[in-house]
Amino acid sequence: MVNIADILIPISTFVTFFAVYLLVSLALNLQQGYTGIPNLGLFLSIIVGAVVTAVLPSRLAMVIYSVPPELNFIEDNAQVVALLNVHLASDPFTSIGLLLLTIVVAAGAGMVTGYLTSFFVRRLDETYLAVFLLALAEAARTIGTYYRPLAGGNFGISMPNFVGWFGADYYYLGLFILISSVSVLIFFLTERLCHSPFGRLLRSIREDELTAKTVGKDTNRVKMIVMALSSGILAVAGVLNTTRQAAAVIPTYDRIDFTFWPWLMVIVGGSGNNLGTLVGTISLISLRRVLIYMKPSLSFLPFSPIWFEHILLGIILLLVMFRRPEGLIPEKPRKLQGP
């Protein structure tokens, strides 16, 4: 008989990976695609989300289940996680509660991060801003990598299992349901927002900020809202990614995986519309998956297949820029019917 997990694992792995990336590219699309804020440091707020997940729910669970105080979550990681997993597996309410709390707190922390960075968004011109945000994110990654108390430093830490109560066979189903529903919910809310006068306001700021000001728009305030909102989404992506991996490893949140690829997804799909972002995200994620499966047969390459992925990133970018700069699904302005 086929084991249910054998079917669930690949599907869940793919879908949850996609769901996390969808949030990242949605956030980028809000910033760059709609409002024209070039952010090369998306992974700053993702790291904030991952760190909140590393710090908050396990510490709370240790208190709730009275784990002996001499055990330290970072230093005795394996032991603590094993202890907590036993409790959490039979306590769905606490598990869900902790997870929801983590999402809310992380979203809040992400929004504060976005709010703080928005002060630079007002003051710096495009190129400086992009590089400055990249530098900020790199700083956060460096701290996360070398300061162990946060999230275990370079090697990261294992996380207790908050969907363990689904049972061993259905664990991946639990991840699938949890992560994709958060992602779908955020997608539809963003879509709704972008198809309102608020979305139109964002696009006007992208097109000409001075004109937007002279027709009475407080563009600084709007940019602040966009930074806070999208950084909140990015932090949620950090929570979900940590949850799906059952580990928080800060050094993996780097600029290539968590900024350059999302940029490519938005550009390929077509920026300034969320459907394009979705299409761009799913096509590039599928491509990367295919590459992973093809790796053994790529051994004829004169270099490691790992680098092939990075080269591909550049090639796709060039192709899109030259052949279809507006992306697979170009932005569609709202047409008015009638005579």
């Binding site: 139109r200 002279t214 027709v215 009475g216």
Partner: protein, 256 residues
């Protein structure tokens, strides 16, 4: 009564004084036309009045309040609107969207209300009517679904003007509104302006080089030369000013 006053405005670019002590009053409910040679500082003055630049010295007063250096969006909220000499539309928005986004106090621009369609839909429909009516009155409703960057230079100039009519306005500052617009439309624009000032008491400050058209509609004329007001008064008196004749008008060949 003067709705807008500037007192000794100085604006420097490096060492160069683009405005060198401009003192000017704009009469409420009238059409004031600002003339002057290229590079005399007209656009710079407008930028200082509408919050785009902060003057290095001097004061701007609007209805008696000091508004020097206030941000453009705040000035728009208290009734000061402007157009740009070089049209600055929202290029990748349609003409219709360009107008819609220019309306003030939109419920749907609040991030929370934006999520609830029923809150903002009635207002959106009202504004749709309003913008279509505006487009119709200038015979350009056929362009409503065009992206702004597809428009011609003259159409863009018109869009600049229509954009500021989407919200209540008390003082309109127009920077060369009819440059590159054909005479029929140019006259129509100026007669609209005149009607608005006469019927609704809206004040206009208009920079314009096409004196043949502008002078017909002007109540007051003001000449700016090398960053200073040379003369100010009725169209007739300004056009008769000898120094202005020499520096500017002789080149324009204007009949009074």
């Amino acid at each position: 009564m003067e709705i807008l006053e500037t007192i000794d405005i100085v604006k420097k670019f490096g060492e160069f004084r683009a405005l060198n002590g401009v003192t000017l009053g704009v009469e409420k409910g009238k059409v004031t036309v600002l003339i002057g040679p290229n590079g005399s500082g007209k656009t710079t003055l407008i930028n200082c009045l509408t919050g785009v630049y902060r003057p290095d010295e001097g004061t701007v007063r609007y209805k008696g309040d000091d508004i020097t250096g206030k941000a453009p969006h705040k000035l728009r909220k208290i009734g000061i609107a402007r157009t740009f000499q070089i049209p600055a539309p929202f290029k990748k928005l349609t003409v219709f969207e360009n107008l819609m986004v220019s309306a003030g106090n939109q419920l749907g621009e609040d991030i929370l209300k934006a999520l609830a369609r029923r809150i903002w839909l009635p207002q959106e429909e009202e504004l749709t009517e309003k913008s279509l009516a505006l487009l119709k009155s200038f015979d350009v409703e056929g362009k409503r679904n065009n992206l702004a960057y597809e428009l011609s230079g003259g159409q863009l100039k018109l869009l600049e003007l229509l954009r500021l009519l989407m919200e209540d306005v008390e003082l309109c500052v127009l920077d060369e509104p009819v440059g590159s617009i054909h005479p029929v439309l140019a006259n129509k624009i100026f007669s609209t302006v005149k009607a608005m000032s006469e019927k609704e008491g809206i004040t206009f400050l208009i920079v314009e080089h096409r004196l043949d058209i502008a002078m017909r509609y002007a109540d007051n004329v003001c000449a700016l030369v090398e960053g200073k007001i040379l003369c100010h008064g009725s169209p007739k008196s300004v056009l008769e000013n000898e120094e202005l004749q020499r520096t500017y008008l002789s080149l324009k060949n204007v009949r009074k």
